[in-house]
Amino acid sequence: MNAQPSLVGSPRDGEFRLLAGGAWTAAQAHALEPLIDRVSPHSLPAVIDMTGVTAFDTYGAWLLEKLLRKHLARDASLTIVGLAPAYQKLLAELHGTVPRETPAPAPRPGGLVAPLADLGRRISALGHEVLPFFNMLGATALTLVRIARRPFAFRFTSLVHQLDRIGWQAVPIILLITFLIGCIIAQQGFFHFRKFGADMYVVDMVGVLVLREIGVLIVAIMVAGRSGSAYTAELGSMKMREEIDALKTMGLDPIEVLVLPRILALVIALPILTFLGSMAALYGGGLVAWAYGGMSPDIFISRLKDAISLTHFKVGMVKAPFMGLIIGLVACSEGMRVKGSAESLGAQTTMSVVKAIFLVIVLDGLFAIFFASIGM
């Protein structure tokens, strides 16, 4: 079955006789192809004798067909003899396929133009990156207004379900991470502040840093990675399987049914998680102060009372819902941009997390400027 294919040609009796043998099959195609390429149309009429061919499939048929076409293109004749009737059918089938010309790739600008064109394309693509976000913001705001007019239409069950998933179920991991961050900040504080006897100020640092910045930032980044990615993947795969189109045809607004409960859940859950996270971080800080810094819990608490005020707490908490909004908008808009392929689902999910974390940090910076200017 798997005999090496062969093709030997010699002029004889006023014709060029090609003697074919062996297996003309997929497994032998790599050996057969150079043999076929070597045959060039002869001035004599050519005859190919296929009697010696032991096995023949589409690959062999295609190579034979190629040989035929090569002769045809140069007005040379090639006659096939000794091909079994079953194989003739296969050859005829391939012969019926139109001579293909590979579609020419679009001409690419060369020289200096290419990098410039590339730059232009990238910049215009950047605009397309921003657009869906504001699109989603607008659509959500509109839906919110519509819902406010007839509140009974709101998907309350869905909201509670999302709150459970992204709020309640996130509590253990958020507590653990923020607790550890609190411990690390306090330990680093003691280690370095001790050199110039400023142990007491570690409590100020932990309190202010955690309540104003670290608590909300860590929680937002965690939520973007944990829940934002889940939102994008969910909506994306629903988009892929036309579930979103199905919703639309049933007269339902996907923004109202899918997006709004998700975003609202984030806006509600993020302040709660931030509060819990901040408390866990302070607890971690206190624990390290006691175990590593030799500061008794009583002193830590009374020092904390002096160091922080309600303002610090408010600064952190005010930011939280906005961070939730940003994460939700990015996650949902990226989910809606998923195209048909599995690859695009992966790409958009990555994009969702990266963008959400980036925007959360940018927003934090803007808030820092804002609070500094109003003196908070």
């Binding site: 195609a29 790599h30 589409t58 690959y59 089938e93 590979t102």
Partner: protein, 266 residues
């Protein structure tokens, strides 16, 4: 019911197959044989286990008991390498195509070639394009991604991929479902042509009475976990099994029955 022919003639031989999920038994001591070069149509109600049978034969679902022989080899007794070599000799068309969504149609067809054959890039492209042409897709479709294709084109592209390595058996899971009658008819004709030219054996799970009539050499009916009738369509229609009766004597079946009787008589 016919006595299944001896082992040697059958390219697929299933004996006493039992498959179940949890407490439910889907296939219960099922026996089925398929001969080389024939088109076997497997019919049965929704949820009767047609796809389960097909997926068990190709090894996607584990069986609980029984033997499956393909090309005369018992699938349980094969080494990994032997099994892989055997799997190259069959091609599968899944119900929804299962084309790789991140590859173009051409790359999808080339994928098995790239894995299993040492071919030059040029030959691989030519053969893949020829295969696509055989199933009725042109070079412009070849450059498209699966998401850009219509349902019928997905089936055609998936068939081209199933045929990429010139298999001896193709398994088709509802090849004409979701196609309009004209496309379905074309697809049937295509399968018939390919079977004739490539010498394929075709194992076809189908619901399509038209396909059963026009292209299937033999029909097997699956009900209650067993093959309840097997043979040429006219023979199967004589079966007294209640499901077979209601299937072929239903509104659409009755029409077919008249045509077959007319055909057999003339």
């Amino acid at each position: 019911m016919q006595e299944p022919p001896a082992y040697s003639q059958n390219i697929i031989e299933v004996r006493d197959l039992v498959v179940g999920f949890g407490a439910t038994t889907v296939l219960d001591r099922l026996c089925l044989g398929m001969q080389r070069g024939e088109i076997l149509g497997l019919v049965g109600g929704s949820g009767s286990g047609k796809s389960v049978l097909m997926r068990t034969i190709i090894g996607l679902i584990p069986k609980q008991a029984g033997t499956i022989r393909v090309f005369g080899a018992d699938l349980d007794r094969l080494e990994d390498a032997e099994r892989r070599a055997l799997e190259r000799r069959w091609g599968v068309l899944f119900q929804h195509g299962a084309l790789f969504s991140s590859l173009t149609v051409l790359q999808n067809v080339q994928f098995p070639m790239r894995e299993y054959l040492q071919l030059s890039e040029r030959l691989m492209e030519e053969v893949a394009l020829a295969k696509l042409a055989m199933v009725g897709l042109d070079a412009r479709d070849a450059a498209k991604f699966p998401a850009e294709l219509s349902g019928g084109m997905v089936k055609r592209a998936a068939l081209a991929r199933a045929l990429a390595l010139d298999p001896e058996i193709v398994f088709l899971d509802e090849p004409t479902s979701g196609l309009d009658p004209i496309s379905a008819g074309d697809f049937d004709a295509l399968i018939k042509t390919l079977q004739a030219t490539l010498g394929l054996s075709v194992f076809m799970v189908t619901h399509d009475l038209e396909s059963l009539h026009t292209i299937c050499d033999r029909v097997a009916v699956l009900a209650a976990g067993r093959i309840v009738a097997e043979g040429r369509l006219a023979q199967v229609m004589q079966s007294q099994h209640p499901w077979v009766q209601s299937y072929f004597l239903g509104k659409r079946g009755a029409l077919l029955g008249q045509r077959i009787t007319a055909h057999e008589g003339g």
